[in-house]
């Protein structure tokens, strides 16, 4: 069964360093989401792609976060510089248009 793949699973980084997360969606899924989930809270949408285009990035802290999906397939989310408050689970999901979203296992980021 096809799954959304994310790497790495865990990442520990020092404050002010750069960090990047990778997501490979299910083949054929045009819509890709990046979420941040802080412990005890629901997933918060950071950015939504339709193919290679950004549909919504209104909640993305653009001074330090960037996201790209250059060929409309896999995607990278970057944080530079990382801050202590960025410690969270970063989730990627993909879907066929407005249909069911399939989630990856997430990357747990700890900033020390």
């Amino acid at each position: 069964e096809a799954e959304v793949a994310q790497s790495p699973r865990y990442k520990i980084t020092e404050k002010s360093q750069a960090v990047a997360f990778w997501c490979d969606p299910i083949s054929g899924h045009a819509t890709l989401y990046w979420y941040r989930q802080i412990l005890g809270q629901g997933p918060e949408l950071l950015v939504q792609f339709q193919d290679e285009s950004v549909v919504d990035d209104s909640q993305l802290p653009k001074d330090r976060f960037s996201a790209e999906r250059l060929k409309g397939v896999d995607s990278t989310l970057k944080i530079q510089p990382a801050e202590l408050g960025d410690s969270a689970m970063y989730l990627c999901a993909s879907s066929l248009d407005r249909d069911e979203a399939f989630f990856g296992q997430g990357t747990r980021l700890t900033v020390v």
Binding site: G42, E44, L45, R98, A101, F103
Partner: protein
């Protein structure tokens, strides 16, 4: 702006008791609503969506536009229902804060 509210962080019920997980939404158009579930050490996954009007694992949810609610219900809770439940709203797939359901024996 669209918003999803789940007022309960934790709901604890006994096995065999009815379950109702509350969800209220704020949206100016015609809403598309979902319930997602996350079992321990598993990925977040879709449980059901309002447009299909189906029952999944004994759970149902009815959209009430007058009360702007989409509560999740099950008549008899089972131990395997223990999980984190999230209500979500399209068109930006927006999630509520989630309710932890704990079914006790």
């Amino acid at each position: 702006a669209q918003r999803v509210t789940q007022p309960e962080k934790l709901l604890s019920v006994f096995k065999g008791a009815p379950v109702e997980l509350k969800c209220n939404y704020s949206y100016s158009g015609s809403p598309e609503l979902f319930w997602y579930v996350q079992y321990s050490r598993q990925r977040l996954q879709l449980l059901l969506r309002h447009i299909s009007r189906e029952s999944i694992k004994g759970f149902t949810a009815d959209l009430n536009k007058g009360e702007t609610s989409f509560h999740l219900k099950k008549p008899f809770a089972q131990e395997e229902d223990s999980a984190m439940y999230y209500c979500a709203l399209m068109d930006k797939l927006t999630f509520g804060t989630g309710t932890q359901l704990k079914v006790e024996l």
